[in-house]
């Protein structure tokens, strides 16, 4: 039995909401109970007072396999994840073609085996993500799908969505929605308001998110399905979310790190690396969403990692592709909220790790004995200036290029095996 002991750490425990000095013992890839006087271990890691937390569980990562491997492969995404302290990626099915059959899921599962970071798959809710016919939810569940979503393509037909939800509920499958009114948001590249008007960009009113959410929540109430809203980014959507929660619906909500740390003005003079979906919001919306995260109304923070190559971004803003990479910048960007005093470290890791793991039924997100030793060691204060070309992702489309950030990952472990240390990466499996 191989044992590993992390000493002299500031342990960030999201489950009891504390940061305490201490040690963590790992035996056979699992967190072990700390026994008194047990100083002996096969390997001892002196954490030097840095923070040790459960590894990040990142929901909604886009990987370009199949179809766009030049933008991101499982291998490159895993390297980026490891460097960012991410120990589990839940990947999106909006590939080309989409992951909508058990055969396709089996193929990507095999491809994902190269990754030292744990990978689980979400699958398409409807065939071809076309919003017309239900995908084989049962087969896909058996083959390992953790949730069902058409990604950022809204199922426009409410009858189709209600049937998908009803069927998913019968199998105990979770549906992940992209709350957005598809008509109001058609063709939009920015959020309606003074900024979008001055820039002359086609825009979607913030209210379109609430409209999409209200529709989905009504169907959740009707069908009883477990539902996760992938990104809640506006103040207007928070009230219906709170009402659904109070009514006891099985509803959770996420938000991307970009909507928590950036606003519409960051687009500046048409900087396409800031084009994301939904578009960046007004500052008052950002503040409301940060507050909702601190209150626990919003459960999950994720990177919504969306690799795009230079060619798809070097276009006029309206034509440029949406999305930003985020696996490596998720933690330092999220630490901005900690340094600004909006949220404490345990609450942040609850949103980055514990809650997503529980919601998606995954191991990890815990420091309790018996949990897998998926850990991230980081210095929350170490300052640096981000250079996008230093990222491990194949695509370099980060909005944080040149940004001053604080928080460096010093090590990442999956199942007790170290998969990242700065300047030197551990060989892949």
């Amino acid at each position: 039995m191989k044992t590993l002991r992390f000493e002299n750490a500031r342990i960030v425990d999201p489950e009891d909401g504390t940061v305490r000095k201490g040690a963590i013992v790992v035996a056979d890839g699992l967190i072990a109970a700390e026994t008194a006087g047990d100083a002996h271990a096969d390997e001892v890691i002196d954490c030097g007072g840095a923070c040790l937390a459960p590894g990040i569980v990142d929901i909604g990562v886009k990987i370009g396999e199949p179809g766009e491997r030049h933008k991101e492969s499982f291998r490159s995404a895993a390297a980026a994840a490891a460097a960012g302290g991410v120990t589990t990626m839940v990947v999106r099915p909006d590939t080309t073609p989409p992951i909508d059959t058990p055969e396709m899921l089996e193929f990507v599962t095999r491809r994902a085996a190269v990754s030292p970071v744990r990978i689980r798959h979400m699958c398409a809710l409807t065939k071809g993500r076309e919003g017309r016919e239900m995908a084989e939810i049962g087969f896909l569940l058996d083959a390992g799908a953790v949730a069902f979503t058409d990604g950022d393509r809204v199922v426009r037909d409410s009858r189709v969505l209600s049937r998908c939800m009803r069927y998913a509920r019968g199998l105990g499958a979770m549906v992940v929605g992209h709350p957005q009114d598809p008509d109001l948001s058609a063709g939009a590249a920015a959020t309606s308001g003074k900024f979008a008007s001055l820039r002359g960009l086609p825009a979607v009113p913030a209210m379109a998110e609430r409209m999409g959410l209200e529709r989905d929540l009504a169907l959740v109430e009707m069908t009883g399905v477990a539902y996760h809203a992938d990104q809640i980014t506006t103040a207007a959507a928070l009230a219906p979310l709170a009402r659904a929660r109070d009514a006891g619906l099985d509803v959770t909500a996420g938000v991307s790190i970009h909507h928590l740390t950036l606003n519409e003005f960051d687009v500046g003079d048409y900087r396409t690396f800031f084009k994301v979906k939904p578009p960046l919001r007004a500052e008052r919306d950002r503040e409301a969403v940060v507050a909702a995260l601190a209150d626990g109304l919003i459960d999950i923070v994720s990177s919504m990692h969306t690799p795009q190559d230079e060619e798809s971004k070097r276009l006029p803003f309206e034509e440029a592709a949406s999305g930003a990479v985020g696996l490596e910048t998720l933690l330092p960007a999220a630490l901005r909220l900690v340094h600004a005093g909006h949220i404490d470290l345990p609450a942040l890791f609850a949103a980055l790790s514990t809650k997503p793991a529980r919601r998606f039924g995954l191991p990890g997100g815990s420091l309790r004995p018996g949990a897998p030793a998926d850990l991230v060691l980081f210095d929350p204060d170490a300052p640096f200036v981000l250079d996008r070309f230093a990222l491990h992702s194949k695509s370099k489309n980060t909005p944080f290029d040149g940004a001053r950030l604080q928080g460096k990952v010093l090590g990442t472990w999956v199942g007790g095996r170290r998969i990242f240390e700065p300047e030197r990466e551990i060989a892949h499996a």
């Binding site: 002359g200 309206e318 034509e319």
Partner: protein, 320 residues
């Protein structure tokens, strides 16, 4: 004289004194253009490429004439949607042209921000001739010159901008310019044709046209951009003309000496009554066209001066 810009991408980047510089120089070109010999040599030896990704007879002709009168070699490239569909991106097209060493690139493009994107990639001066719904700076400058000549000043005027403001780059550039020069601006349009956040632009909003024209010194009509209408913004043209079209009755609410402007091309009977458009006592629409050539000559002259100064600073790699 002050004008420091490297490109003219929008009114947003200009300071009030730079606007005045352009207008003052344009006055000299107005005089030149009225002479029999219309030639100047401000752009002698320089190459100007007009790159129009969106068809425009009037603006392109105006830029072409302006360049030729200043002695530039002018080339027109009509890059319609079809050739973009062949796969060449905007940047590729620009890099190809850049390799031919143009000095001035005049760009019109259907997408907002396209001119700025080009300016980041090429060595020459870029002149925005209209990008999407964003800006059309030379139109605002020529409107400013027209107003200044008709009214004797370009400040403390009440200007009503009427019509399809939501889809209009002309309106955005004019709101910025007239605001910078400290005028009172009113936007007159049905709510569906007002951009979101219009009230935050430092303007008054009037949905009733008669109230909007009350006491106006300048009535600026906009074209109802039918080609941009991807939905039903108004019920019908006739209802639009009835409520928001400029006719003698509505114009009577403006000051008796108010001038009527239109960037053209006009939809007579939709946004403006034909008789008003042709009324030589009120309409300055033909003056706008004339000022257009002069203003474009002035802008290109100033950009060329800055370009020459910049190139003189730069050490040459080798001399032949």
């Amino acid at each position: 004289m002050t004008f420091g810009a490297q490109h003219l991408l929008g009114i947003e980047d200009l300071r009030p004194e730079e606007i005045v510089t352009v207008l003052d120089l344009a006055e000299r070109y107005v005089a030149l253009n009225r002479q029999a010999k219309k030639h100047a040599d401000a752009l002698a030896g320089m190459t100007q490429i007009n790159m129009f990704f969106e068809a425009s007879t009037r603006t392109q002709a105006s830029f072409e004439l302006a360049g030729k009168r200043l002695g530039a070699d002018v080339m027109n490239m009509e890059v319609q949607a079809s050739s973009i569909k062949k796969g060449e991106t905007l940047i590729d097209t620009a890099m190809t042209l850049n390799a031919m060493h143009p000095d001035l690139l005049v760009v019109r493009h259907p997408h907002s921000g396209a001119a700025r994107l080009l300016a980041e990639k090429v060595d020459c001066a870029v002149l925005n001739a209209g990008d999407g719904r964003h800006e059309h700076p030379t139109q605002a400058l020529l409107d400013a010159l027209t107003i200044r000549r008709a009214k004797g000043r370009l400040h403390r005027l009440t200007v009503a901008i009427c019509g399809d403001i939501a889809h209009s780059r002309v309106a955005r550039s004019n709101i910025l310019l007239l605001g910078k020069m400290e005028n009172r601006i009113r936007l007159v349009a049905p709510p569906t044709l007002l951009p979101a956040g219009a009230a935050d632009l430092g303007v008054e909003i009037c949905e009733d046209m008669r109230r909007g024209l009350e006491g106006a010194d300048v009535v600026m009509m906009l074209r109802l951009q039918k080609e941009r209408m991807d939905g039903a913004f108004i019920p019908s043209e006739r209802e639009y003309f009835h409520r928001w079209g400029l006719d003698a009755d509505k114009l009577a609410h403006a000051r008796p000496d108010a001038i009527v402007m239109h960037p053209g091309p006009m939809n007579r009977g939709v946004e403006i009554d034909g008789e008003i458009a042709d009324d030589i006592n009120r309409s300055v629409i033909q003056d706008q066209v004339e000022m257009g050539v002069a203003v474009r000559m002035a802008v290109m002259d100033l950009l060329a001066r800055n370009l020459r100064a910049r190139r003189a600073d730069r050490p040459r790699e080798f001399t032949a």
